[in-house]
Structures are given as structure tokens and as C-alpha cells.
């Protein structure tokens, strides 16, 4: 008769699987098996309960030891004229190691989410913005506009943690109004305050934000509609925004998937600045999944530049248009790829014939077997670490929940560096 493994209940667990980095989960750990007991969403439940594998590293598709894999990866990098270190789905320690490796090898650094994160970064570089953070929204927000998407698909507990609470620091009956600008969620949300969908064409939201600015500034208007919604509807929304005590527009840059979306986001941020002339209104850019804010933060503070920066000339060279993973692999700019993805086994390397080293979450499948594969532990599950939350200010500690022989990304990179 087999005995069930002894189990431990762990409270206040940080979840690394979306940018909210909720730190209130309760999990039960029994051997290698982890079950979320409370405060997890469906993403967390699935990601934590993935069984541990301990597959070995592979070189050329064949099982290899860690030192063999490290040596093979080092050789691949040494033979390259322009390496590209991409994916960058890792925690602070992994991001620091990747940045150090890029400096040493003259590599380009790019994150798998950079097409989206750049939409916000370009706005920061050009005009800036006024923003807030989750606890402020939880306590002050009386009007939440979700722009461009339903938020819950990417950040399942956002409304539960920041909007659904009636009790705040300032009273007991907050009923925050929610407006989905563009499209609403597939399942209706049960929230204390009114929830409505304002249908419009997300790809044309730029003109809508411009129209709202003009309405608020009292300018004479010629437009009768914007983004497919009539002028009257925008006038109503403008009035509601002007009268908010603490309004917030939340958006996921990944939802703004059309050309020059940064101009739309900038129009939104300029609108928010206008609203702060007389009242208080903030943006809440939502990101942080796959460690994108973590990698960007680490690179920014060390070198002055975020993703899409090359160290090929021995000094940081940031070019958001040239140094994208897709362009570097398509146009023959990069001749070696190190792909890092430790949170999601589904975010594997892009299809390419360029020699590839993958430091990937075990269980990752490939269309083309990479030259070197090192299965790595998942931060917050197999090893401790640090991860930045969506609002860019809060960095949470991640815990180790189970014993694992898998190296962390930082460990794997250290082994490769030692072999260089």
C-alpha cells in the first residue's frame, strides 16, 4: 500500500504567471505536486499544477549533462558574429545574468513581448504620462475605463483585487463604475458598481481620444463620430470622465495590436494629462507577463536602455525598429540565438534556422530541435527570485515551492559564461 506524500500548506505565495504577481495565494505542496487552494485564477491553477519533469539537457537532440550543454552553448556563442539573446522570460537574477552575458558577447537583447511593451516605452520617451498603481485604484477609483480590451483575459484577477472591493481606506460603500471601451469580457462581471460596454473600433481609438480632448477643451467640433461611435456618446463619456473623483484608464499595450499604436496610447496619455488640470485622473498600463517589465527594468537601470538594444559595438545601442527578434532573424542580422523562457512552455523560440540555444521551461516542445536545450526551473516554483509587478513599482519576492534539480536561468547562464 503506498502512502500519500506528506503535504505542506503554504500561504502568501506569489504567482509569477501574469503581470499582476498576486502574492496572496494559498497552495498545497505534496512532493512535486502543487495545487492552488485559494486566491488563484485559472491561469495560476494550470501553471502551478504542471507536473515537474526533470528531463536532461540536450545537445543536438541527444541527452547531455549540464557541463556538456554549457560547453556546447559557449562554443555556439563564440562562433557567432552577432548573437541575439531574446525571449528573456525570466526573473531579476536571470535578467541580470542575460544582461551580463550580452555585454560579454556583444549581443542584442530583446524580450518576447517587446512589440507590445514598446508601445508604452515610446510614449515615455516622447511625452510621458500620469499613472497610478493597484492599491490606489483599489481605494480611490470611482470610474475605471478599460481601453482596448477586456483586461480579464490577460490579468484575470484585476477586477477582483482592485475594483470589486466596497470597503476602502476612505469608506465602506465604494461602487466603482466600469466602462469597457472597445469590447467587453466574454463572461459578464459581477461588480458592485455599474458595468457597461462602449462598443467602438479599437484600431481607431486614437481619433476618439483626440475627440475627447477637444470636447473637454470646449473646441468647436466638425466630427459627428469617432471610432465608429457617435459624437453624443463621446460627449457623455467626456462628462463622466470630467466629473470623476479619481478616474483611471487601464490598458494592456498587447491589446493595441495595429500599426503605430504608440500614437494612440500617447493620445490617451495626453487626454489623461488634460484631465489633471482640474481633477485627478490616471493611467494604469498593464504589463509584466513573462517577466517583460522585469527584464526592461534591469536593463534600464544597468545600461540606460530597455529591450531592443545591441552591445555589438561595446556600448549600448538602442534601436527599437532594427533590433527586433523578428527582423534580426529574418534579415540575417543575427547568426546565433539564445532563447530564454522560464514561465510558459508555450512561449518557445520563433521558427528559424539560426543556431539556437534554448533555456526553456521543461516541457517546451519545438518544431525544430534547438542545437542546445537546457530545461530550467520556473521562478516562484522551482527556485526563489524577484519579479516586478504590472505597475512597475512593486517587486515581489518569489518563493521556492518544491525541490528541483533544474538550474535557474541565472545558473545556466553562469555555466555558459564559465565555459566561454
Amino acid at each position: 500500500m503506498s502512502v500519500a506524500p506528506a503535504s505542506t500548506d503554504v500561504a502568501d505565495v506569489s504567482c509569477p504567471f501574469c503581470g499582476l504577481v498576486c502574492d496572496d495565494l494559498a497552495v498545497r505542496v505534496a512532493g512535486d505536486s502543487i495545487t492552488v487552494r485559494a486566491n488563484g485564477c485559472q491561469l495560476a491553477a494550470a501553471a502551478f499544477s504542471r507536473p515537474a519533469g526533470n528531463p536532461s539537457a540536450r545537445v543536438g537532440g541527444q541527452p547531455a549533462t549540464m557541463p556538456q550543454a554549457a560547453a556546447a552553448a559557449a562554443k555556439l556563442l563564440q562562433g557567432a558574429r552577432q548573437p541575439l539573446i531574446a525571449g528573456l522570460g525570466t526573473d531579476v537574477a536571470g535578467a541580470r545574468a542575460a544582461a551580463r552575458l550580452a555585454d560579454r558577447c556583444g549581443a542584442i537583447l530583446d524580450h518576447m513581448n517587446s512589440a507590445a511593451t514598446l508601445r508604452n516605452l515610446l510614449v515615455l520617451q516622447d511625452g510621458g504620462w500620469i499613472t497610478t498603481t493597484l492599491s490606489e485604484i483599489r481605494n480611490r477609483c470611482d470610474l475605471l475605463i478599460a481601453a482596448g480590451g477586456d483586461i480579464v483575459g490577460r490579468f484575470p484577477r484585476f477586477f477582483e483585487r482592485a475594483i470589486a472591493n466596497r470597503e476602502t481606506l476612505f469608506g465602506g460603500d465604494r461602487q466603482c463604475e466600469v466602462v469597457f471601451l472597445g469590447r467587453g469580457p466574454a463572461q459578464p462581471l459581477a461588480l458592485p458598481g455599474p458595468v457597461r460596454v462602449f462598443p467602438c473600433d479599437v484600431a481607431r481609438l486614437g481619433e476618439a481620444f483626440g475627440l475627447l480632448r477637444a470636447i473637454l477643451a470646449g473646441r468647436p467640433l466638425q466630427a459627428t463620430e469617432a471610432a465608429g461611435a457617435p459624437l453624443g456618446a463621446w460627449r457623455e463619456l467626456a462628462e463622466r470622465m470630467r466629473n470623476a473623483r479619481y478616474g483611471v484608464v487601464a490598458w494592456a499595450a498587447a491589446d493595441f495590436d495595429f500599426p503605430h499604436a504608440e500614437l494612440t496610447i500617447q493620445a490617451l496619455c495626453e487626454l489623461i494629462k488634460d484631465l489633471n488640470r482640474d481633477g485627478r485622473f490616471c493611467g494604469m498600463p498593464l504589463g509584466g507577463s513573462e517577466g517583460d517589465l522585469t527584464a526592461d527594468s534591469v536593463q534600464l537601470w544597468q545600461t540606460g536602455f530597455a529591450a531592443r538594444t545591441s552591445f555589438g559595438q561595446g556600448r549600448p545601442d538602442h534601436d527599437p525598429y532594427q533590433y527586433s527578434t523578428a527582423r534580426m532573424l529574418q534579415d540575417g542580422g543575427a547568426d546565433a540565438l539564445v532563447w530564454i523562457s522560464s514561465f510558459s512552455e508555450t512561449r518557445g523560440p520563433p521558427a528559424t534556422t539560426v543556431p539556437t540555444v534554448v533555456l526553456g521551461r521543461d516541457g517546451m516542445a519545438f518544431e525544430r530541435e534547438p542545437e542546445v536545450f537546457v530545461p530550467v526551473g520556473t521562478p516562484g516554483v522551482d527556485h526563489a527570485g524577484t519579479l516586478f509587478r504590472a505597475d512597475r513599482v512593486v517587486a515581489l519576492p518569489l518563493q521556492r515551492l518544491r525541490r528541483s534539480t533544474l538550474p535557474s536561468v541565472a545558473d545556466a547562464i553562469a555555466a555558459i559564461e564559465a565555459a566561454l
Binding site: 531579476v92 499613472t131 549600448p316 513599482v393 517587486a395 519576492p397
Partner: protein, 553 residues
């Protein structure tokens, strides 16, 4: 291994040594007493004719934390204009106004600095502050943690909680965030801005909590004092940048009711409203108040002309000034019911009347505060100017002819409103050593820093004695950190990672329960996750030592 530094002119104001020629001996990272005459010297440096001081200490410089990273994200042009290429020893980095942490550490060391203190650590952002400080090579570091606009404190005060409870909260915050001092920025004002208030005067009640900035200063300075934290409450006063704010500054100096209080970047708080443009210097009044108040200290926050970026916790002031951003972009944030921040690039121009007068006001303060132990040399990096301008500032203080030459170049109307030309004082090397070494170490409560007597950390800076003091202080000939040569002729020759300095006053465990409940009810982070562990700190700091200094109670 015993190292001898021979024949240098020693400036060690902590022990009254003013340019005497003496030998220094170093063993195991510390300065030691002269050994027996027959002791074997393993390494010797000939320092005849050189000026020798302890490593310099910057007690107020924004080197780590979220708002500086926002500044970096906003200013790619700053980085493109100032790239730092990698060498066999050092890594690639960039920037002048908002440099990367790597460039920051290398440059501070190249200027002879061996310790830097980040003055505005938000409790919720302490991890990032320590990560960034950890990635700043060469220098020892520490942080002051910000309180005073956090809802937890304001609620405690509004409910007339006992001072002992506030003390527990302050002590818990210091211990959790691994900091060495307490900072308050625009007391209550950062919070008031979230309620759509645009100004908050010293005796004006907060729109929701009803407490005044003066109340907050009194309560926090008492807490710092009763806990025995060596560093006084570090105060960024109300009404930063507002013409006429000298009045609230004078009130702030008295707000601690005789307890130690440190007013930071006091230049920005020393404005009057005289003259046609209703903007004038109140430096004389402020300096007089500092002179007459022995429990008060200040650092100047000198502005110097050129492009920089202002990164501040004072979201209220930054939003108020947002139209003056140059180039025209800015960020303002409300942060986690904890604090806020604002980042505005800024270009100080010598032909701009206000900027020119700000420049003169800072210098007036340096020259009118009599006690060099109570006025510190800062530019509030990067808010007044990047820290790489310190050598230029030192020359302005030491060389009256040079100073008056520069005065003659600024906006003519501003020249008419400053007494600077008549101020004859020139700082001596001894006094510069006080401002940049001896006094910061003393006011931080770090007895092993800032001096050159046996027992001191062997953080030693050696300058050539050039008549051009800017040249002298730009590129020291040797810089030693813990007895190792790290810089030679203004260039890094060895990369090291400094230690973290902090205090951990005791507190009643009851506060942890209160905080856990409060955070669970109102916040989106568990209170326990604000606590940073030893393991985390060591990992952040590349194996850095953690030094906890004793509190005086």
C-alpha cells in the same frame, strides 16, 4: 599585508588634522596605527606633495529606485549623448543626467567617492532601490525610507495614536526596508495631491486626515529621536520651488521643536517674493536661521547650468511645474497609498532670470552658513545637476575670483538681486573635507567612515594638489576602497562591490499584526512582503556585506 602611504598631506577634520604630512598604514582593509619600525611593508605608495582625504561620502543622491528608472526610460537622448563603452574590467553603460547604475558607480569612484546614500526609498519600492544600489559598483551605500504621505501613518495620526505606536511603525519600516534613516517629502502633500489638492502649507490641514505638515514633522522627528536613529529626520520641506517658500522653510526648521532635523536641498526652499519679478533670494534669512539653530543641518542642492532631469518623490510639486519641463515630457505617479513621484527633464539656463538666481542662491547659502559641519555639498543629483559637476562646484566655493567671473556671465537682472559678489569667503581644503567626508559620516552615525585614524575603513582618496581645484577634484590620482586600489588617475583599475549600511531599531511585535491586517484589508500586497531578507540583500549586492549600525537607545 601591510600597506604604507608615505608623505601625503592629510586632511582629517574628524581629528583636527589640517594638512599635516603624515604616513598612513593599512592592513586588512582598515587604517591601522603606525607599526613597529622594523615591521615589513608589503606595498608602499609615495604620496609626497599630494592631498589625502578619506573617501568622499554623498549623503543625498538619487542613485536607486523606481523614479530614477522612469527618468532613464524617458531620456534615451541622455544615454545616446554619453555612452560608456565596455573595457576588460568594466561593463557598457550610459548616461549623464540619468546614468545607468554601472556608469554611476564607476564615475563616483573615479571622482574619489566611496559611499553614496539614496535619499528617497519608498517602502513599497525598497526592493528596487536596493537592487539598483546593489548594481552600483565600487561604493558603499544605504537608503533613507520615506514616510509622511503614507495612509497608514496619516490614519494613525488622525486617530490620535500614541507616539509609541508611531515609533513602532517607523522602526518596523526601517527594519523591513533595510534603510539607515527616515525621509519625509512634502509632508502630507504627496497624499493631498491624490485628493486633488495642489498646495499644502506647513500649518494647513490635510483635506482628509486633518493633520498638518507641521504635525507630521513633529511626530516623525520625535520617532527618529526616541528610537535613537543616528541620522536626523531628513526633510524635503513643503512648497518646493514656490516663490516665498522661505517662510515655510523657517517654520520647518522649528517644527521639530528642538530635536535634530536635516533640511535637504535647502536652496529650492529659500525663495522670497521681492522685486519686479516677485522672485528673490531669501538665502540670508535661511542661513541665519540655520546658524541660530544648533539642532538643524542642511544640504544645499546647488543647481548648475545645463540639461538634467528632476526626479522627486514630490508629485504635487512636479505636477505643478510640469509646464516647465524641458524637453516637454514628464511622468507623475500616485504610488500604492504609500507615496508618489514626478520626473521632469529640466534645462537650467544661465540667461534665464530664475535659474540664474537659483544658482546664486545656492552659493549664498554655502557662503553664509558659518558651521561647515552643518552644511553639506550636494546638487540633489540629478535634480540640481548631475553629480559629475561636484568638482566644478568645489572650485566655485574655493576660488572667489573664478566664482565672480562666472557670476558676471549670468542673467544681468539676477546679478542685481544677489549679494554673491560681496561674499568674500573661500572654502579651504579642510572645510571641503568636512563638507564631503567628516560631516556626512558623523551625521549618518557611521563611525568607521569619513576619517583617517586607526580603525577607519581604508577608503582613501589621494589628489594632486592642482591650483585649479576643479581639475584636482575631477580625477584623483589614487582611490582606495577597503585598502584596495580601485581607481588610478581618474580611471577604474579594479571593480568592487560595496556594502549596505542600515539601522534596525527595536519595535513591539504588535505593529506587525496591525500592518498585516491593514494591508490585507486595503492594499494589494501582503505586508510581510515589504520585508527584505538578508539573503535577498546579499544577492542584490553581489555578495555585499550588510552592516547594521547601533541605535542610540
Amino acid at each position: 599585508m601591510l600597506m604604507k602611504l608615505t608623505g601625503g598631506r592629510i586632511y582629517d577634520p574628524a581629528h583636527g588634522v589640517d594638512g599635516e604630512v603624515r604616513d598612513l598604514f593599512v592592513r586588512d582593509g582598515r587604517i591601522v596605527a603606525p607599526p613597529a619600525p622594523d615591521a615589513r611593508i608589503d606595498q608602499e605608495y609615495d604620496l609626497r606633495g599630494r592631498v589625502v582625504m578619506a573617501g568622499a561620502i554623498d549623503l543625498h543622491t538619487h542613485i536607486g529606485g523606481g523614479k530614477l528608472n522612469i527618468a532613464r526610460a524617458m531620456l534615451p537622448e541622455d544615454h545616446r549623448g554619453d555612452p560608456v563603452s565596455r573595457t576588460t574590467l568594466t561593463r557598457a553603460s550610459a548616461g549623464r543626467a540619468a546614468p545607468g547604475t554601472l556608469a554611476t558607480g564607476y564615475r563616483y569612484a573615479e571622482m574619489g567617492y566611496t559611499a553614496c546614500f539614496e535619499p528617497a526609498v519608498l517602502p513599497i519600492n525598497a526592493r528596487q532601490a536596493h537592487l539598483e544600489m546593489g548594481d552600483t559598483p565600487m561604493v558603499d551605500k544605504g537608503g533613507y525610507v520615506m514616510l509622511g504621505s503614507d495612509d497608514f501613518l496619516l490614519r494613525l495620526m488622525a486617530s490620535r495614536a500614541e507616539q509609541s505606536l508611531v515609533n513602532d511603525y517607523v522602526a518596523w519600516t526601517l527594519a523591513a526596508t533595510r534603510c539607515i534613516g527616515i525621509k519625509v517629502v512634502n509632508p502630507g502633500g504627496i497624499s493631498a495631491f491624490k485628493f486633488n489638492q495642489r498646495m499644502l502649507d506647513l500649518d494647513e490641514p490635510h483635506p482628509h486626515y486633518g493633520v498638518t505638515p507641521r504635525d507630521i514633522l513633529r511626530v516623525l522627528s520625535r520617532a527618529v529621536h526616541e528610537l535613537g536613529v543616528p541620522h536626523p529626520l531628513h526633510v524635503h520641506s513643503s512648497n518646493l520651488g514656490v516663490p516665498g517658500n522661505a517662510d515655510s522653510t523657517l517654520g520647518t526648521i522649528r517644527a521639530s521643536e528642538g530635536l535634530p532635523i536635516h533640511l535637504t536641498h535647502i536652496q529650492f526652499h529659500s525663495y522670497g517674493t521681492e522685486g519686479d519679478r516677485k522672485f528673490s533670494s531669501a538665502a540670508a534669512r535661511i542661513a541665519e536661521a540655520i546658524n541660530a539653530t544648533p539642532n538643524a543641518t542642511c544640504d544645499v542642492g546647488q543647481i548648475l547650468f545645463g540639461q538634467t532631469v528632476t526626479a522627486s518623490g514630490d508629485s504635487m510639486a512636479q505636477h505643478r511645474n510640469s509646464a516647465h519641463a524641458s524637453p516637454k515630457k514628464y511622468v507623475v505617479m500616485d504610488i500604492e497609498c504609500d507615496a508618489g513621484c514626478g520626473v521632469l527633464p529640466f534645462n537650467y539656463r544661465d540667461q534665464n532670470f530664475v535659474n540664474a538666481l537659483q544658482w546664486a542662491i545656492g552659493l549664498e547659502i554655502f557662503l553664509l552658513v558659518r558651521d561647515p559641519w552643518r552644511v553639506f555639498l550636494t546638487t540633489d543629483h540629478p535634480n540640481g545637476a548631475p553629480f559629475t559637476t561636484y568638482p566644478h562646484l568645489i572650485r566655485l566655493l574655493m576660488d572667489r575670483t573664478f566664482r565672480n567671473e562666472r557670476l558676471g556671465l549670468i542673467n544681468a537682472d539676477a546679478q542685481g538681486l544677489t549679494t554673491l559678489a560681496s561674499l568674500e569667503r573661500e572654502y579651504s581644503l579642510y572645510e571641503i573635507a568636512i563638507l564631503t567626508r567628516a560631516a556626512p559620516a558623523r551625521i549618518l552615525g557611521i563611525p568607521e567612515m569619513g576619517h583617517l585614524a586607526p580603525g577607519a575603513l581604508a577608503d582613501i582618496t589621494v589628489y594632486g594638489d592642482h591650483a585649479d581645484r576643479e581639475r584636482m577634484f575631477t580625477a584623483p590620482e589614487y582611490v582606495f576602497k577597503d585598502g584596495e586600489l580601485i581607481v588610478q588617475n581618474g580611471r577604474v583599475v579594479r571593480v568592487t562591490w560595496g556594502r549596505y549600511h542600515m539601522v534596525q531599531p527595536a519595535f513591539d511585535a504588535g505593529i506587525e499584526r496591525r500592518l498585516a491586517e491593514h494591508f490585507e484589508r486595503y492594499h494589494t500586497v501582503r505586508a510581510g512582503h515589504l520585508r527584505i531578507s538578508d539573503d535577498e540583500m546579499r544577492a542584490f549586492g553581489h555578495g555585499a556585506d550588510l552592516v547594521t549600525h547601533p541605535c542610540r537607545r
